[in-house]
């Protein structure tokens, strides 16, 4: 049955029927759920979140054609493995931004530009997203980042250096910053 399902996923992909392909991958923090549309990585769900809920959200917001098809996520998994081994400092993956809109999309795109090992404040992010007064909204947008780690919202801190929040939990945020060598430089 497994071989039949694998062939089905391959044929569906070849026919352009895989609107959302997903896979899980191990990380030092627990399993991550990755999902990609034909345009690119659309969702990364951290271990703190329920995968079934994430898949239902994708079915509802992107397309109900959600199929487990790990081959489509091979490159993303490879790069994440290297990142967790501190052997990769910049992800080179096509991204699909469709789960975020308006100001929030500008915020996550601003976050995407923060270089490896550096941090920004919520105020700085609000400013580079085009509204320096929308600090609270920028914080909310960080929390709603659909592709954490790859879009490094862990690099956004409170003014003054306090960690702020993180969907994967503060220990994970701290560990990622430590991995990148960003904590000493503060």
């Amino acid at each position: 049955m497994r071989a039949a399902l694998k062939r089905l996923a391959d044929r569906a992909d070849a026919e352009g029927l895989l609107d959302v392909a997903y896979a899980t991958t191990d990380s030092p923090f627990g399993p991550l759920l990755l999902a990609a549309t034909p345009r690119g990585l659309v969702k990364l769900s951290l271990p703190t979140y329920d995968s079934d809920e994430a898949l239902e959200e994708l079915a509802h917001r992107v397309s109900p054609r959600v199929v487990e098809a790990p081959a489509r996520l091979d490159e993303a998994r490879r790069q994440l493995d290297l990142y967790f081994d501190a052997k990769l400092t910049a992800f080179d993956l096509p991204l699909d931004w469709q789960l975020t809109h308006h100001f929030r999309r500008r915020v996550v795109r601003a976050i995407h530009r923060i270089p490896y090992g550096q941090t920004r404040s919520y105020t700085q992010i609000a400013t580079s997203a085009g509204n320096e007064r929308a600090v609270r909204a920028a914080g909310t947008a960080c929390g709603a980042n659909p592709i954490p780690i790859v879009v490094p919202c862990h690099r956004v801190l409170r003014s003054g250096g306090a960690l702020g929040g993180y969907g994967g939990g503060l220990p994970m945020k701290e560990a990622l910053l430590e991995l990148e060598g960003a904590l000493q430089s503060r």
Binding site: A4, L8, R11, A12, L17, Y22, L55, A59, P64, V67
Partner: protein
């Protein structure tokens, strides 16, 4: 309108049943081709499906149509022996089951489908009817006729006409 679940849940919940039904309907050798055709057709149509209340019946309906297409494409070619040892509930003696499924394969299409859906996928009459596109009473009749024929073939009951000869 019920929200459509991720397609993967249809595979997780029903792929094994669809395969079992197709093995009963077209034989083991061709079941996988029909399985692929069934789920590709389902995947194509899925986003436009208005009602998610009976996804299993919907999939089995598609599987039934694919089995019919398969038989049409193959004309009157004799059916391969269905091997159903992997099916849920298959007994210790798979050979006996193979013999039975070979007989199922020789039934007329409606009876064959009704028997495969009832004993391959464990569907109730209402769902067999939905899958076959007929009334529950007609589904029950097809099933009954199919079982009667099988009993006769297996020698459980004297076949009609034999005694008179």
């Amino acid at each position: 309108m019920t929200a459509l679940p991720p397609f993967q849940t249809l595979l997780d919940d029903h792929a094994a049943d669809v395969m079992a039904v197709l093995r009963g309907a077209v034989g083991r050798a061709d079941a996988e081709d029909c399985f692929q055709e069934t789920f590709l057709a389902a995947l194509r149509a899925y986003p436009r499906l208005g009602n998610a209340s009976n996804l299993r019946g919907w999939l089995l309906t598609i599987a039934h149509r694919k089995a019919i297409d398969h038989h049409r494409a193959n004309g009157r070619r004799p059916l391969p022996v269905a091997q159903v040892a992997e099916m849920a509930g298959a007994a210790a003696d798979p050979e006996a089951y193979e013999g039975i499924w070979a007989l199922v394969g020789a039934l007329p299409p409606k009876q064959r489908a009704a028997v495969a859906l009832r004993y391959g996928a464990d569907l109730p009459h209402a769902e067999i009817a939905a899958a076959l596109g007929c009334s529950p009473a007609a589904a029950r009749r097809s099933l009954h006729e199919g079982i009667k024929k099988l009993r006769a073939d297996l020698g459980g009951e004297p076949a009609l006409g034999k005694e008179r000869a």
